[in-house]
């Protein structure tokens, strides 16, 4: 076993310190050491996106990021979306537009959609489908996910305009 290393990063705005083996994946650190079980493991090969987190303002699949790569990073997970009890527009629209069923892909989906709307606040349906293609859902057929992202985009833009 290789020597463990101390890693410090910001998780949903709070400083965290962990001691990990160099080979430990971020998803395992988040889920098993930091009790953030929102991001899930679906494939271990970066295909399904259930483990998607936002790392330094980029969507990453935390099953293929080493925790030691996260020194000094800013990590956002689904647990960081609701602010003082208020749901994020995406969380609300996923509920209202029935964009989830079993819920397993949902944290990754919302986290990915968050990055999409940060970079493209008014995406077309085609753009949404393209941007979300790294996140698999086995239940919804994506139609309502697209709808939810559109609803959230509208809501966020009107809030920004106000």
């Amino acid at each position: 076993m290789a020597k463990k290393q101390a890693v410090s990063f910001k998780l949903n705005g709070k400083d965290v310190d962990v001691v990990v083996e160099p080979r430990e994946l971020l998803i395992h650190t988040l889920r098993e050491k930091l009790q953030h079980t929102g991001p899930h493991i679906g494939c271990e090969t970066s295909h399904c996106g259930a483990c998607t987190v936002d790392l330094n303002a980029m969507s990453v699949k935390s099953c293929t990021v080493l925790t030691v790569q996260c020194e000094g990073a800013c990590v956002l997970t689904i647990e960081g979306f609701a602010q003082s009890g208020e749901l994020h527009a995406l969380q609300e629209s996923f509920h209202l537009d029935h964009a989830l069923q079993c819920g397993y892909c949902t944290p990754g989906m919302i986290t990915r959609a968050y990055r999409l709307l940060k970079e493209n606040p008014n995406p077309t349906e085609e753009e949404i489908r393209y941007w979300m293609a790294g996140n698999l859902c086995r239940c919804t057929g994506y139609q309502n996910i697209v709808k939810a992202v559109q609803s959230a985009a509208r809501k966020l833009s009107s809030a920004a305009a106000a």
Partner: protein, 799 residues
Amino acid sequence: MSEETLQRENKLEGVGASRKRKEDARFIRGQGSYVDDIKLPGMLFGAIVRSPYAHARIKSIDKSKALKVPGVVAVLTADDLKPVNLHWMPTLGSDVQAVLADKKVWFQLQEVAFVLATDRYTAADGAEAVEVDYEELPAVVDPRKALAADAPVIREDIADKDNVGHGPRTHPNHIFTWEAGDKAGTDAVFASAAVTVREEILNPRVHPCPLETCGCVASFDKVRGQLTVYMTSQAPHLVRTVVAMLSGIPESKIRIVGGDIGGGFGNKVPVYPGYVAAIVASIVTGVPVKWIESRIDNISTTGFARDYHGIGELAADSNGRIKALRFSALADHGAFNAHVSATKLPAGLFSICTGSYDIPKAYCRVDAVYTNKAPGGVAYRCSLRVTEAVYLIERMIDVLAQKVGVDKAEIRRRNFVKPEQFPYTTALGWTLDSGNYHVALDKVLKAVDYDGLRAEQAAKRASGQLMGIGISTFTEIVGAGPTKVCDILGIGLFDSCDIRVNPTGSAIARLGTMSQGQGHATTYAQIIATELGLPSEEIQIEEGDTDKAPYGAGTWGSRSTPVGGAAAARAARKIKDKAKKIAAHLLEVGERDLEWDVDRFRVKGNPAAAKTMKEIAMAAHTSNLPDGMEKGLDATEYYDPPNMTFPFGAYVCVVDIDKYTGETKVRRFYALDDCGTRINPMIIEGQIHGGLTEAFAVAMGQAVPFDDNGNHLGNSLMDYFLPTSVETPKWETDFTVTPSPHHPIGAKGVAESPHVGGIPCFTNAVVDAFAHLGVTHMDMPHTSFRVWQHCKSLGVNKR
């Protein structure tokens, strides 16, 4: 209905309301509780050592290096499980399956040893360090070669058995022969028929692949002798019974807890070796043990579906009126017959294969065989073998249409069971309780402008373009089922609901089913709300914890609404009967003087004299009750359905195929479903979107391929096709409502229809694009490469 009454009814959010889901609140916050989220004090992690070979003898297993890895606690093999007699386990198919390989391995990635360690990395290190010496044996991969005289014997352990639970075996690799219908009568019709057609009907091996893999946390409390297993099970009560039978622990001391499940689609019905190994490991060590399957292990070893190799035939008159259906198939069950089915139905519900059509004679024969592939299979988003059955009839009727030169919609109309024929008993013995097929088809054809599409297709064909129109007018069979026909391990497939109404008029209901995304906590509450006149918002639903919920067979085969939903309605009606007696007592009138009004009983002719269900709930907990009446307001129903339910639908798919790349673009998919009474239209639509997407996946890309030695050629998400948002088509949905006459609220179940009905619709569309070239057959999956190869062999893409 008055405005005031309507308002009261809307407030209940009962049957028919697109009520938002109660489950969502935790999922959108990342607060779901899936099995891998569970962490118990002192918990060990189990990793499985798996076979690299599809068929081999195990000469030796050396654990010594693994045991030296710091953090590895134990390595279990079949020899360690033998003293407690848990190295083999019974399957749902009346066979046995090795929990850990016993002297032999029978399929690639089979479970050989179970390494226990303090965390998942160390467990993986330990598994790496276990040394197994194998002697490779020739493998049987193609089921068509399994019954050859010189085929290698796969199951030497049962070589001397001439019967493994379902009748005589004719070869060491043969499991059973299943027959249904009138063979002589059917053959006679074929012998004299004006027209006959024959086609290969292949459903390749696929996998349901829910986003969450299988797993469990087994926790044995040595002091109390109690076993708790948190697991991803679609059928927790049946699992508890199996575990009791296996372990000898009294069933009352076993608790299975479902929690949240990240999709099932059939994958999470059986009991897998990993669960048993984890349970044994926890019993041995006395600490909790977690086992979580990897994606590759999931696709490779647990819960494959289909692998059904058939020949379909239809006999008809010259107008395309079907006179008989004949079918034979080889079913590849892999190395152990772990096929999920009702005990008396080894080929499942395949005999629904006459579909929506009035077919006077039919005969089917299925031979199940062993191969050196993973055991199973499961019903992938369908009832037992119903996808295969519907694929057969919906493909064959298209083949017949092409042969007799009748339009593919018209030939269906000519053969439909007519509304006045219901209840209609099929040639294979099922009684279809209701249906209205002509209306459904006509509505869809009008919506898509079918005539216009055919005209466009003719023009495209004239200019060398490939456009296909697929139709599927399927009838499903779901809701297993009547206990006289359906049991598993002797346990009838009834289901249950236990409702308790609290003094303040809220209620909790517990059911024997298990949601995996279907939204039961939302929809069951709606059923009870309408029955009892209590707001659905105040009705809590619980499932999946066997210590709390009454016994039931779980959620699979679209059985939750047909069976669990019926139990909920009937338990509520028992409560309502008692409530009526209380209301009569309180209002000092006879029961016959009362009438039900949304949420209250009122005196006929004097609506102001009424008692609401909430008032009655309180009264039920006071001394002011009719003489001799027990306190409380609760009821339990164990519901044994009198028949299956038969949802149906009419689908149209339009595809454009690029003959130079083989790419198939789904231009339009219009799905009309009739699931009887609609409990929550929003959830129904969501289920249909999801089912159609899974149908698209199966038809257009899914297969679990092997080489001749039984090596997997694609068992990660790198290769196994799960459609993304980019390639998934847009779905248009529609409905008709033909209530089931025997279901308490007329509902039929819906989640599987789009998968079952969708698959042949896609194939029919792809084949239809080539129909003018005389093509009647193309095997799934219709990947671009395969379609391109087809274009090439037909010479249509020469420049």
